[in-house]
Symmetry: C2
């Protein structure tokens, strides 16, 4: 598979340089690291919010850095957890004394490295807390994960924890609302075409011209099953159905919906999926409060999409609606 790159081993460093030169007034790189922070980090008297993980999921996570969302993103190599040292640098860079909160997607490497970095930081007197996001209802345990994987629902956790911190929440309060978000968010994805890690050069898996894979992970990890490619309406129903089976919803419950493109799927197709998801939710008597359609948590140029539902209450709605100036999650 073709790539527009220079050296496959330098893609992350060059991407970071390109992110900083695109937003020099909003972002800065912690020198000698793969950590990007808000330009004004550490923000005085505010809990710092740190996320990150392997690269290749852009706009996650650096696109969510901004007032009201993340203070820092720690970038690993493509589809590879950042090291303990790098995560530690991220924590240190945003610590203003009020504590640092980590949003970790549930992959074995990420969990291990973020938690070890947290211990290091605590040993130096910093206060650190974390949440592990495991929104993917497709499979229990998979290639890189014990338990359910963390996928696009993570972006809602960034948003809500970030708003709580911006509004002056303590580390304990931020952790509490992040845990509530994780408890109420579910996702599932599917793919029609693969992606390629630049250093590998070739597709990470193959799908026949009439095949799709349901429940696939954001690194191409196997999902539930390969099927003959279905219509958008059937795909929407399969993903939404599996998510709803796993949620305990009552009529008139309010939801946020995210239709996330995995990389090469045109917006046109995401909107077609969205229309069916909205219809189904309406028929079941749920109320959609806010909808997000676009690329939020990608897998390089993978073709496919995921659906995320977040059950809302008054507090979650207010935090979801709170202003964010992150480049890829603007809320006025």
């Amino acid at each position: 598979m073709k790539k527009i790159i220079n050296d496959p081993n330098e893609v992350v460093q060059e991407m970071i340089a390109g992110m900083i030169s695109a937003s020099p007034n909003q972002l800065k790189q912690v020198e000698g690291t793969t950590v990007i922070t808000r330009k004004d980090a550490p923000v005085e008297n505010k809990v710092g919010i740190v996320s990150g993980g392997g690269s290749g999921h852009e706009p996650a996570h650096a696109g969510y850095i901004g007032k009201g969302m993340l203070d820092a993103a720690v970038l690993g190599e493509v589809f590879t957890s950042p090291s303990v040292d790098q995560v530690y640098e991220g924590i240190k860079a945003v610590d203003s004394g009020k504590g640092v909160f980590l949003v970790i997607k549930n992959y074995t490497g990420d969990v291990l490295n973020f938690e070890m970095a947290a211990e290091l930081a605590e040993a130096e007197g910093m206060k650190v807390a974390q949440v592990i996001v495991n929104d993917d209802v497709a499979v229990e345990d998979s290639s890189f994960t014990t338990g359910r994987r963390g996928i696009a629902g993570t972006v809602f956790v960034h948003k809500i924890a970030g708003a709580k911190a911006e509004l002056g929440g303590t580390l304990e309060e931020v952790k509490e609302i992040a845990e509530k978000t994780v408890a109420n968010v579910r996702s599932m994805g599917m793919a029609i075409s693969p992606c390629a890690i630049p250093a590998a050069g070739e597709a990470s898996f193959t799908l026949a011209e009439n095949e799709m894979e349901i429940g696939i992970g954001i690194h191409g990890e196997p999902g539930i099953e390969r099927q003959k490619i279905a219509t958008a309406a059937e795909i929407a129903d399969e993903l939404t159905g599996k998510i709803l089976d796993d949620m305990k919803l009552n009529k008139a419950d309010e939801l946020a919906v995210m239709i996330n493109g995995l990389g090469s799927t045109p917006n046109m197709e995401l909107f077609i999926i969205n229309e069916k998801v909205q219809k189904t939710l309406k028929e079941k008597g749920f109320h959609v409060y806010r909808t997000f359609v676009g690329e939020y948590m990608t897998a390089l140029e993978m073709g496919g999409c995921s659906v995320t539902l977040l059950k809302l209450d008054k507090e979650l709605k207010e935090l979801l609606d709170h202003a964010s100036d992150a480049p890829n999650f603007f809320v006025r």
Copy 2:
């Protein structure tokens, strides 16, 4: 090529439904048409701004509807101009008596249909003016165009004309600033992989595994030449060089930069391109005022990117910075 769709002949209508259900408080469809407008259209005592064209370029054009940008987008079938009737409906829907301004990309079908619709509207007493955007420096005349094509630079015209109208500009003033923007904006693109129109089902062109095409259009129209695939730095230099050759810039001139993904190119690669473009512009003594990296004017799932440069002055900077709440061009 695989698609996540239902009926290939219904993709535009289903996409419109999905757009409206995603943003029910911001957007509405003019009943029985393929016109989407601001929910509050027509806005009293404001010039209405209308753009549009074939579908498949999302987020163009409906993603730019919002306060401070477009009042309406008129959607044609995939890569096909909307009809005269549809454009006329778009004009009528946003006319508040102060006039309607059309931003037209330079393709023969679009120019013909938008101009005929303008004549129809004028015959009914509406005031209409327009600008034709022809920012693509790659080729003079091509498959669907006499003269240079209109591509991603069009988005800057939407933004600047939209801001002028929002600030109370008259139809003549909006036309004047739009013409100034067109005179100062240049773009060029390249592709590494094709797209497929849903109703056709197959790739619109083929490129060998080691090939790229420089100067390609946003419908896959031929560009300048096919070459062996180059590095991101070489591609950035080739596109930027050709654009700068065509602009009359002086040292210390200020620029807006847009690095636009054509569909399936990961953000990672766009940021790598951006880094080289920024370095080159800096070396040449130009000052980059603002940078946009992402998908702004796509060609379904085509792989590749375009570079756009807009020469700024005080007035253009102010209008570019003016608030916009369009979903895909948020400016605070």
